[in-house]
Protein backbone atom coordinates (compact mmCIF):
# COMPACT_ATOMS: atom_id res chain seq x y z
CA UNK A 1 0.00 0.00 0.00
CA UNK A 2 1.14 3.59 -0.60
CA UNK A 3 1.42 6.01 2.31
CA UNK A 4 2.02 9.72 2.45
CA UNK A 5 5.37 10.07 4.22
CA UNK A 6 6.67 13.65 3.81
CA UNK A 7 10.42 13.96 3.25
CA UNK A 8 10.85 16.99 5.53
CA UNK A 9 9.80 15.15 8.70
CA UNK A 10 11.64 12.95 11.18
CA UNK A 11 10.16 9.62 12.27
CA UNK A 12 10.38 6.90 14.91
CA UNK A 13 9.69 3.16 14.63
CA UNK A 14 6.57 3.56 16.77
CA UNK A 15 4.97 5.55 13.92
CA UNK A 16 5.19 9.07 15.31
CA UNK A 17 6.45 11.94 13.16
CA UNK A 18 8.20 15.16 14.26
CA UNK A 19 8.52 18.49 12.54
CA UNK A 20 11.56 19.97 14.24
CA UNK A 21 11.78 23.76 14.54
CA UNK A 22 14.88 24.71 16.54
CA UNK A 23 14.61 23.06 19.96
CA UNK A 24 10.88 22.57 19.58
CA UNK A 25 8.88 20.11 17.53
CA UNK A 26 5.35 19.26 16.46
CA UNK A 27 4.44 15.59 16.98
CA UNK A 28 1.73 13.39 15.47
CA UNK A 29 1.16 9.89 14.11
CA UNK A 30 2.02 8.91 10.56
CA UNK A 31 -0.29 8.18 7.65
CA UNK A 32 0.70 4.52 7.99
CA UNK A 33 -0.35 4.50 11.66
CA UNK A 34 -3.71 6.16 11.06
CA UNK A 35 -4.40 3.81 8.17
CA UNK A 36 -3.53 0.74 10.22
CA UNK A 37 -5.75 1.86 13.10
CA UNK A 38 -8.72 2.84 10.97
CA UNK A 39 -11.29 5.42 12.00
CA UNK A 40 -10.11 6.88 15.30
CA UNK A 41 -12.81 7.43 17.88
CA UNK A 42 -11.02 8.12 21.14
CA UNK A 43 -7.90 9.96 22.22
CA UNK A 44 -6.12 10.68 25.48
CA UNK A 45 -3.42 13.37 25.50
CA UNK A 46 -1.14 14.62 28.28
CA UNK A 47 -1.24 18.01 30.03
CA UNK A 48 0.89 20.98 29.13
CA UNK A 49 4.03 20.82 31.29
CA UNK A 50 4.16 17.01 31.45
CA UNK A 51 7.61 15.60 30.68
CA UNK A 52 8.47 12.33 28.97
CA UNK A 53 11.57 10.35 28.08
CA UNK A 54 11.96 8.95 24.58
CA UNK A 55 9.83 5.83 24.16
CA UNK A 56 7.59 6.60 27.11
CA UNK A 57 3.81 6.46 26.62
CA UNK A 58 2.32 9.95 26.42
CA UNK A 59 -1.22 9.08 25.37
CA UNK A 60 -3.68 6.55 24.04
CA UNK A 61 -5.43 6.35 20.71
CA UNK A 62 -8.34 4.04 19.96
CA UNK A 63 -10.20 2.99 16.85
CA UNK A 64 -13.17 0.64 16.79
CA UNK A 65 -10.92 -2.32 16.27
CA UNK A 66 -7.80 -1.50 18.24
CA UNK A 67 -6.18 0.48 20.97
CA UNK A 68 -2.67 1.82 20.68
CA UNK A 69 -0.22 3.72 22.88
CA UNK A 70 1.32 6.98 21.74
CA UNK A 71 5.06 7.16 22.40
CA UNK A 72 7.24 10.20 22.99
CA UNK A 73 9.75 10.21 20.10
CA UNK A 74 12.37 12.12 22.12
CA UNK A 75 12.91 13.33 25.68
CA UNK A 76 10.56 16.26 25.89
CA UNK A 77 8.32 18.66 27.76
CA UNK A 78 4.80 19.29 26.46
CA UNK A 79 4.32 22.93 25.42
CA UNK A 80 0.86 22.57 23.85
CA UNK A 81 -1.69 19.89 23.01
CA UNK A 82 -4.15 19.89 20.13
CA UNK A 83 -7.14 19.76 22.48
CA UNK A 84 -9.91 19.98 19.82
CA UNK A 85 -8.82 16.46 18.85
CA UNK A 86 -10.14 15.12 22.18
CA UNK A 87 -13.69 15.72 20.98
CA UNK A 88 -13.16 15.21 17.26
CA UNK A 89 -10.49 12.75 16.19
CA UNK A 90 -11.38 12.86 12.51
CA UNK A 91 -8.37 15.06 11.50
CA UNK A 92 -6.00 12.34 12.71
CA UNK A 93 -7.30 10.16 9.87
CA UNK A 94 -7.91 12.85 7.26
CA UNK A 95 -4.93 15.15 7.88
CA UNK A 96 -2.34 13.41 10.09
CA UNK A 97 0.43 15.93 9.31
CA UNK A 98 -1.79 19.01 9.56
CA UNK A 99 -4.87 19.40 11.75
CA UNK A 100 -4.21 15.94 13.18
CA UNK A 101 -1.06 17.08 15.05
CA UNK A 102 -1.04 16.11 18.71
CA UNK A 103 1.69 17.86 20.67
CA UNK A 104 4.05 20.78 20.50
CA UNK A 105 7.09 19.81 22.56
CA UNK A 106 10.37 21.23 23.79
CA UNK A 107 13.12 18.75 22.95
CA UNK A 108 15.12 18.11 26.11
CA UNK A 109 17.36 15.24 24.95
CA UNK A 110 19.12 13.76 21.95
CA UNK A 111 17.63 13.18 18.50
CA UNK A 112 20.07 10.55 17.18
CA UNK A 113 17.42 7.82 17.33
CA UNK A 114 15.18 9.60 14.80
CA UNK A 115 14.70 8.09 11.34
CA UNK A 116 14.72 9.98 8.07
CA UNK A 117 12.00 9.27 5.54
CA UNK A 118 14.02 6.57 3.74
CA UNK A 119 14.67 4.62 6.94
CA UNK A 120 11.07 4.96 8.10
CA UNK A 121 9.69 3.96 4.69
CA UNK A 122 11.80 0.81 4.89
CA UNK A 123 10.44 0.08 8.36
CA UNK A 124 6.87 0.47 7.13
CA UNK A 125 7.46 -1.74 4.10
CA UNK A 126 8.86 -4.48 6.33
CA UNK A 127 5.75 -4.46 8.51
CA UNK A 128 3.13 -3.81 5.83
CA UNK A 129 2.95 -6.98 3.84
Amino acid sequence: MQYNLPADLQYVETDEWLRIEGDEAIVGITDYAQSALGDIVFLELPEVGDTFTAGQTYGVIESVKASSDLYAPVDCEVLAVNSPLIDNQEPINSDPYGDGWMLRIKITGGTDQLLDVAAYTKSVEERDH
Binding site: D39, F42, E44, V64, K65
Partner: protein
Protein backbone atom coordinates in the same frame (compact mmCIF):
# COMPACT_ATOMS: atom_id res chain seq x y z
CA UNK B 1 1.80 -20.31 5.26
CA UNK B 2 -1.57 -18.74 5.86
CA UNK B 3 -4.60 -20.32 4.23
CA UNK B 4 -6.50 -18.30 1.65
CA UNK B 5 -10.11 -18.39 0.49
CA UNK B 6 -11.09 -18.57 -3.20
CA UNK B 7 -11.67 -14.80 -3.00
CA UNK B 8 -8.15 -13.84 -1.90
CA UNK B 9 -7.32 -12.20 -5.26
CA UNK B 10 -10.51 -10.15 -5.08
CA UNK B 11 -9.64 -8.86 -1.61
CA UNK B 12 -6.17 -7.71 -2.56
CA UNK B 13 -7.44 -6.18 -5.82
CA UNK B 14 -9.96 -4.17 -3.78
CA UNK B 15 -7.11 -2.89 -1.61
CA UNK B 16 -8.18 -4.72 1.53
CA UNK B 17 -5.95 -4.71 4.56
CA UNK B 18 -5.24 -8.40 5.15
CA UNK B 19 -4.63 -9.98 8.54
CA UNK B 20 -3.96 -13.40 10.03
CA UNK B 21 -7.26 -14.62 11.46
CA UNK B 22 -6.87 -18.06 13.01
CA UNK B 23 -4.41 -19.12 10.34
CA UNK B 24 -6.37 -17.48 7.50
CA UNK B 25 -5.24 -14.50 5.49
CA UNK B 26 -8.47 -12.50 5.58
CA UNK B 27 -9.56 -8.93 4.83
CA UNK B 28 -10.04 -6.92 8.02
CA UNK B 29 -11.23 -3.84 6.13
CA UNK B 30 -11.51 -2.40 2.63
CA UNK B 31 -12.74 1.20 2.58
CA UNK B 32 -12.75 1.55 6.37
CA UNK B 33 -14.40 -0.19 9.29
CA UNK B 34 -16.80 2.65 10.04
CA UNK B 35 -18.08 2.96 6.46
CA UNK B 36 -18.45 -0.81 6.22
CA UNK B 37 -20.27 -0.99 9.54
CA UNK B 38 -22.69 1.75 8.42
CA UNK B 39 -23.24 -0.02 5.11
CA UNK B 40 -24.38 -3.16 6.96
CA UNK B 41 -26.64 -1.14 9.27
CA UNK B 42 -28.08 1.16 6.58
CA UNK B 43 -27.85 -0.56 3.20
CA UNK B 44 -25.90 -3.73 2.46
CA UNK B 45 -22.47 -5.23 3.02
CA UNK B 46 -20.82 -8.28 1.49
CA UNK B 47 -18.53 -10.54 3.51
CA UNK B 48 -16.33 -13.43 2.42
CA UNK B 49 -16.88 -16.09 5.07
CA UNK B 50 -15.42 -18.98 3.11
CA UNK B 51 -12.93 -19.54 5.93
CA UNK B 52 -15.72 -21.06 8.01
CA UNK B 53 -16.03 -24.83 8.02
CA UNK B 54 -18.80 -26.66 6.13
CA UNK B 55 -19.40 -30.32 6.96
CA UNK B 56 -21.94 -32.59 5.34
CA UNK B 57 -23.37 -35.31 7.56
CA UNK B 58 -25.52 -37.96 5.93
CA UNK B 59 -26.32 -41.63 6.36
CA UNK B 60 -28.93 -43.65 8.19
CA UNK B 61 -28.04 -42.28 11.64
CA UNK B 62 -27.32 -38.66 10.64
CA UNK B 63 -30.16 -37.21 12.68
CA UNK B 64 -29.56 -39.45 15.69
CA UNK B 65 -25.85 -38.61 15.60
CA UNK B 66 -26.40 -34.86 15.44
CA UNK B 67 -28.93 -35.05 18.25
CA UNK B 68 -26.16 -36.72 20.28
CA UNK B 69 -23.46 -34.10 19.56
CA UNK B 70 -25.35 -30.77 19.49
CA UNK B 71 -27.28 -29.17 22.34
CA UNK B 72 -30.21 -27.99 20.24
CA UNK B 73 -33.09 -30.21 19.13
CA UNK B 74 -32.83 -30.90 15.42
CA UNK B 75 -35.48 -33.64 15.36
CA UNK B 76 -38.14 -31.10 14.46
CA UNK B 77 -36.24 -29.58 11.56
CA UNK B 78 -37.98 -29.95 8.21
CA UNK B 79 -36.00 -29.89 4.99
CA UNK B 80 -34.85 -26.31 4.47
CA UNK B 81 -34.88 -25.34 8.13
CA UNK B 82 -31.88 -24.69 10.34
CA UNK B 83 -30.97 -24.40 13.98
CA UNK B 84 -28.27 -22.67 15.99
CA UNK B 85 -26.61 -25.08 18.40
CA UNK B 86 -23.55 -25.80 20.49
CA UNK B 87 -21.09 -28.64 20.53
CA UNK B 88 -20.31 -29.26 24.19
CA UNK B 89 -17.78 -31.57 25.80
CA UNK B 90 -18.66 -34.05 28.54
CA UNK B 91 -18.11 -31.35 31.18
CA UNK B 92 -20.55 -28.98 29.48
CA UNK B 93 -17.80 -26.71 28.14
CA UNK B 94 -18.41 -25.25 24.71
CA UNK B 95 -16.34 -26.80 21.90
CA UNK B 96 -17.96 -24.59 19.27
CA UNK B 97 -21.15 -22.87 18.24
CA UNK B 98 -22.57 -24.13 14.96
CA UNK B 99 -25.43 -23.80 12.53
CA UNK B 100 -27.16 -27.02 11.44
CA UNK B 101 -29.07 -26.82 8.16
CA UNK B 102 -31.44 -29.64 7.18
CA UNK B 103 -31.04 -30.46 3.48
CA UNK B 104 -32.97 -33.13 1.53
CA UNK B 105 -30.49 -35.95 2.07
CA UNK B 106 -27.95 -34.58 4.50
CA UNK B 107 -27.30 -32.08 7.25
CA UNK B 108 -24.95 -29.18 6.60
CA UNK B 109 -23.05 -28.08 9.69
CA UNK B 110 -21.30 -24.69 9.54
CA UNK B 111 -18.55 -24.25 12.12
CA UNK B 112 -16.08 -21.53 13.09
CA UNK B 113 -12.93 -21.19 11.00
CA UNK B 114 -10.67 -21.43 14.02
CA UNK B 115 -12.33 -24.68 15.11
CA UNK B 116 -12.54 -26.52 11.80
CA UNK B 117 -9.99 -29.21 12.59
CA UNK B 118 -10.95 -29.53 16.21
CA UNK B 119 -14.64 -29.95 15.38
CA UNK B 120 -13.95 -32.35 12.55
CA UNK B 121 -11.81 -34.56 14.78
CA UNK B 122 -14.33 -34.36 17.61
CA UNK B 123 -17.24 -35.34 15.36
CA UNK B 124 -15.20 -38.15 13.79
CA UNK B 125 -14.24 -39.50 17.18
CA UNK B 126 -17.78 -39.31 18.55
CA UNK B 127 -19.35 -40.93 15.48
CA UNK B 128 -18.26 -44.43 16.49
CA UNK B 129 -21.30 -46.69 16.47
CA UNK B 130 -23.33 -44.36 14.26
CA UNK B 131 -23.96 -45.13 10.61
CA UNK B 132 -22.96 -41.71 9.28
CA UNK B 133 -20.97 -40.39 6.37
CA UNK B 134 -19.08 -37.14 7.08
CA UNK B 135 -17.68 -35.01 4.28
CA UNK B 136 -15.62 -31.86 4.72
CA UNK B 137 -16.95 -29.56 1.98
CA UNK B 138 -15.12 -26.48 3.28
CA UNK B 139 -12.64 -26.22 0.42
CA UNK B 140 -15.09 -27.16 -2.31
CA UNK B 141 -17.64 -24.53 -1.35
CA UNK B 142 -17.29 -20.82 -0.89
CA UNK B 143 -19.55 -18.92 1.49
CA UNK B 144 -20.54 -15.27 1.25
CA UNK B 145 -22.78 -13.17 3.47
CA UNK B 146 -24.89 -10.35 2.07
CA UNK B 147 -26.18 -8.45 5.08
CA UNK B 148 -28.19 -5.30 5.70
CA UNK B 149 -31.66 -3.79 5.48
CA UNK B 150 -31.34 -3.40 1.69
CA UNK B 151 -29.90 -6.88 1.11
CA UNK B 152 -33.24 -8.43 0.26
CA UNK B 153 -34.44 -5.69 -2.08
CA UNK B 154 -31.09 -5.44 -3.88
CA UNK B 155 -30.75 -9.19 -4.36
CA UNK B 156 -34.39 -10.04 -5.07
CA UNK B 157 -34.86 -7.19 -7.54
CA UNK B 158 -31.81 -8.17 -9.55
CA UNK B 159 -32.74 -9.77 -12.90
CA UNK B 160 -31.20 -13.08 -11.86
CA UNK B 161 -33.41 -13.46 -8.76
CA UNK B 162 -36.75 -12.20 -10.04
CA UNK B 163 -39.57 -14.72 -9.74
CA UNK B 164 -37.38 -17.12 -7.73
CA UNK B 165 -39.26 -16.53 -4.50
CA UNK B 166 -36.12 -15.61 -2.56
CA UNK B 167 -38.01 -12.77 -0.86
CA UNK B 168 -40.35 -15.35 0.70
CA UNK B 169 -37.49 -17.42 2.15
CA UNK B 170 -38.25 -17.42 5.88
CA UNK B 171 -35.78 -16.46 8.63
CA UNK B 172 -33.21 -19.24 9.20
CA UNK B 173 -34.33 -21.26 6.17
CA UNK B 174 -32.19 -22.43 3.29
CA UNK B 175 -32.98 -23.44 -0.29
CA UNK B 176 -31.36 -24.19 -3.62
CA UNK B 177 -31.41 -21.26 -6.05
CA UNK B 178 -29.89 -20.35 -9.37
CA UNK B 179 -28.13 -16.98 -9.34
CA UNK B 180 -25.91 -15.36 -11.95
CA UNK B 181 -25.87 -18.63 -13.84
CA UNK B 182 -24.62 -20.56 -10.80
CA UNK B 183 -26.55 -23.02 -8.67
CA UNK B 184 -26.08 -22.86 -4.94
CA UNK B 185 -27.70 -22.59 -1.56
CA UNK B 186 -29.05 -19.41 -0.04
CA UNK B 187 -29.98 -19.18 3.63
CA UNK B 188 -31.60 -16.29 5.45
CA UNK B 189 -29.02 -16.37 8.20
CA UNK B 190 -26.19 -14.10 9.30
CA UNK B 191 -24.04 -12.72 12.07
CA UNK B 192 -24.65 -8.97 12.00
CA UNK B 193 -28.03 -8.36 13.64
CA UNK B 194 -29.50 -7.43 10.28
CA UNK B 195 -31.65 -9.23 7.77
CA UNK B 196 -29.62 -10.84 5.02
CA UNK B 197 -28.44 -13.97 3.32
CA UNK B 198 -25.62 -16.45 3.48
CA UNK B 199 -24.76 -17.83 0.07
CA UNK B 200 -23.05 -21.15 -0.60
CA UNK B 201 -21.59 -21.87 -4.04
CA UNK B 202 -18.86 -23.87 -5.68
CA UNK B 203 -15.44 -22.42 -4.88
CA UNK B 204 -14.68 -22.14 -8.60
CA UNK B 205 -17.65 -19.80 -9.06
CA UNK B 206 -16.94 -17.69 -5.99
CA UNK B 207 -15.34 -14.77 -7.84
CA UNK B 208 -18.22 -14.58 -10.32
CA UNK B 209 -20.79 -14.55 -7.52
CA UNK B 210 -18.78 -12.06 -5.44
CA UNK B 211 -18.47 -9.65 -8.38
CA UNK B 212 -22.17 -9.95 -9.22
CA UNK B 213 -23.28 -9.35 -5.63
CA UNK B 214 -21.02 -6.29 -5.35
CA UNK B 215 -22.59 -4.95 -8.55
CA UNK B 216 -26.21 -5.21 -7.28
CA UNK B 217 -28.30 -2.07 -7.52
CA UNK B 218 -26.99 1.42 -8.30
CA UNK B 219 -23.18 1.77 -7.99
CA UNK B 220 -21.83 1.28 -4.46
CA UNK B 221 -25.10 -0.07 -3.06
CA UNK B 222 -23.20 -3.07 -1.69
CA UNK B 223 -19.92 -2.44 0.13
CA UNK B 224 -17.31 -5.17 0.58
CA UNK B 225 -16.88 -5.64 4.33
CA UNK B 226 -14.05 -7.15 6.32
CA UNK B 227 -13.69 -8.95 9.61
CA UNK B 228 -13.55 -5.61 11.44
CA UNK B 229 -17.15 -4.77 10.54
CA UNK B 230 -18.15 -8.39 11.07
CA UNK B 231 -16.89 -8.13 14.64
CA UNK B 232 -18.37 -4.69 15.36
CA UNK B 233 -21.81 -5.61 13.99
CA UNK B 234 -22.03 -8.95 15.78
CA UNK B 235 -20.77 -7.25 18.96
CA UNK B 236 -23.57 -4.66 18.92
CA UNK B 237 -26.10 -7.45 18.44
CA UNK B 238 -24.37 -9.33 21.33
CA UNK B 239 -23.80 -12.45 19.27
CA UNK B 240 -21.14 -14.64 20.88
CA UNK B 241 -17.74 -14.99 19.24
CA UNK B 242 -15.93 -18.24 19.88
CA UNK B 243 -12.70 -17.53 21.74
CA UNK B 244 -14.15 -14.36 23.27
CA UNK B 245 -17.56 -14.95 24.86
CA UNK B 246 -17.48 -18.73 24.62
CA UNK B 247 -14.81 -21.42 24.89
CA UNK B 248 -14.29 -24.82 26.45
CA UNK B 249 -13.85 -22.98 29.76
CA UNK B 250 -17.37 -21.52 29.57
CA UNK B 251 -20.71 -23.28 29.84
CA UNK B 252 -23.86 -22.28 27.93
CA UNK B 253 -25.74 -21.06 30.99
CA UNK B 254 -23.17 -18.49 32.07
CA UNK B 255 -22.87 -17.42 28.41
CA UNK B 256 -26.66 -16.82 28.36
CA UNK B 257 -27.04 -19.55 25.76
CA UNK B 258 -29.22 -21.77 27.94
CA UNK B 259 -31.98 -21.41 25.33
CA UNK B 260 -29.84 -23.42 22.91
CA UNK B 261 -29.60 -26.35 25.33
CA UNK B 262 -32.60 -28.68 25.05
CA UNK B 263 -32.27 -30.92 28.09
CA UNK B 264 -35.66 -32.49 27.45
CA UNK B 265 -34.66 -33.98 24.09
CA UNK B 266 -32.88 -36.96 25.72
CA UNK B 267 -29.24 -37.67 26.49
CA UNK B 268 -26.52 -36.02 24.45
CA UNK B 269 -22.84 -35.25 24.98
CA UNK B 270 -22.57 -32.99 28.01
CA UNK B 271 -26.23 -33.32 29.03
CA UNK B 272 -25.45 -34.83 32.44
CA UNK B 273 -23.03 -32.05 33.31
CA UNK B 274 -25.31 -29.38 31.87
CA UNK B 275 -28.24 -30.63 33.98
CA UNK B 276 -26.09 -30.29 37.08
CA UNK B 277 -24.82 -26.85 36.12
CA UNK B 278 -28.35 -25.65 35.47
CA UNK B 279 -29.65 -27.08 38.75
CA UNK B 280 -26.80 -25.59 40.79
CA UNK B 281 -27.07 -22.15 39.16
CA UNK B 282 -24.13 -20.33 37.65
CA UNK B 283 -21.53 -18.42 39.63
CA UNK B 284 -20.79 -15.92 36.88
CA UNK B 285 -22.68 -14.52 33.95
CA UNK B 286 -21.98 -12.75 30.71
CA UNK B 287 -23.17 -9.14 30.89
CA UNK B 288 -23.22 -6.13 28.64
CA UNK B 289 -21.89 -2.90 30.11
CA UNK B 290 -21.31 0.73 29.29
CA UNK B 291 -18.56 2.88 30.74
CA UNK B 292 -19.60 5.68 33.06
CA UNK B 293 -16.22 7.38 32.61
CA UNK B 294 -13.96 8.03 29.63
CA UNK B 295 -12.14 5.01 28.26
CA UNK B 296 -12.47 2.01 26.00
CA UNK B 297 -12.67 -1.51 27.42
CA UNK B 298 -11.07 -4.26 25.34
CA UNK B 299 -11.21 -8.04 25.42
CA UNK B 300 -8.99 -9.46 28.17
CA UNK B 301 -9.11 -6.44 30.48
CA UNK B 302 -9.77 -7.32 34.12
CA UNK B 303 -12.97 -6.47 35.96
CA UNK B 304 -12.76 -5.53 39.65
CA UNK B 305 -15.65 -5.03 42.02
CA UNK B 306 -15.95 -1.57 43.55
CA UNK B 307 -13.86 -2.67 46.54
CA UNK B 308 -10.97 -3.49 44.20
CA UNK B 309 -11.20 -7.28 44.13
CA UNK B 310 -10.63 -8.95 40.73
CA UNK B 311 -13.91 -10.66 39.87
CA UNK B 312 -13.99 -11.15 36.10
CA UNK B 313 -12.83 -10.09 32.68
CA UNK B 314 -13.95 -8.35 29.52
CA UNK B 315 -14.67 -10.69 26.58
CA UNK B 316 -15.16 -8.05 23.87
CA UNK B 317 -15.15 -4.27 24.08
CA UNK B 318 -15.03 -1.42 21.62
CA UNK B 319 -16.56 1.94 20.84
CA UNK B 320 -19.92 0.99 19.32
CA UNK B 321 -20.24 2.70 15.93
CA UNK B 322 -24.05 2.62 15.93
CA UNK B 323 -24.61 3.65 19.56
CA UNK B 324 -21.61 5.95 19.48
CA UNK B 325 -20.23 5.02 22.89
CA UNK B 326 -17.76 2.51 24.30
CA UNK B 327 -19.51 -0.72 25.27
CA UNK B 328 -18.36 -4.12 26.42
CA UNK B 329 -19.33 -7.65 27.28
CA UNK B 330 -17.71 -9.61 30.05
CA UNK B 331 -18.04 -12.19 32.78
CA UNK B 332 -18.90 -11.02 36.30
CA UNK B 333 -20.22 -12.80 39.42
CA UNK B 334 -23.97 -13.45 39.19
CA UNK B 335 -24.54 -10.93 42.00
CA UNK B 336 -23.11 -8.18 39.76
CA UNK B 337 -25.00 -9.23 36.63
CA UNK B 338 -28.27 -7.37 37.07
CA UNK B 339 -28.98 -4.24 35.08
CA UNK B 340 -27.54 -1.17 36.80
CA UNK B 341 -24.89 -3.11 38.75
CA UNK B 342 -21.56 -1.31 38.81
CA UNK B 343 -17.96 -2.49 38.72
CA UNK B 344 -14.59 -1.32 37.47
CA UNK B 345 -12.88 -2.25 34.25
CA UNK B 346 -9.13 -1.93 34.62
CA UNK B 347 -7.95 0.11 31.66
CA UNK B 348 -4.18 0.62 31.63
CA UNK B 349 -3.96 -0.02 35.35
CA UNK B 350 -6.69 2.54 36.03
CA UNK B 351 -10.13 1.48 37.34
CA UNK B 352 -12.88 2.90 35.13
CA UNK B 353 -16.46 2.66 36.33
CA UNK B 354 -18.81 0.50 34.28
CA UNK B 355 -22.54 -0.18 34.54
CA UNK B 356 -24.49 -3.25 33.41
CA UNK B 357 -26.94 -2.51 30.59
CA UNK B 358 -29.44 -4.60 28.66
CA UNK B 359 -28.26 -6.91 25.92
CA UNK B 360 -28.35 -6.78 22.99
CA UNK B 361 -27.00 -3.25 22.64
CA UNK B 362 -28.49 -3.15 19.17
CA UNK B 363 -31.84 -4.84 18.67
CA UNK B 364 -31.52 -7.15 15.67
CA UNK B 365 -33.75 -6.33 12.73
CA UNK B 366 -34.40 -9.80 11.40
CA UNK B 367 -37.21 -10.45 8.95
CA UNK B 368 -39.29 -13.13 10.60
Amino acid sequence: MLKRTPLYQRHTALGARMIDFGGWEMPVQYSGLMAEHQAVRNSAGLFDISHMGRFSISGHDAQRFLQYVVTCDISGLSVGQSSYGLLCNDQGGIIDDVFVYCLPSEYLVVVNASNREKDWNWLQRRSTGFDVDMQDLSDRWAMLALQGPQAEALFCNSPTMQHTGLETLPFHEIALFGFFGVNGLIARTGYTGEDGFEIFCDAHRAELVWDALLALGPPDSVLPCGLGARDSTRFEACLALYGNEISEATNPYEARLGWVVKLDKGDFIGSTALREIKAAGVERKLVGFELAERGVARGGYLIHDLSGQPVGHVTTGMPSPTLNKPLGMGYVPTALSTEGSEFHVIIREKPVRARVVKMPFYKPRYKR
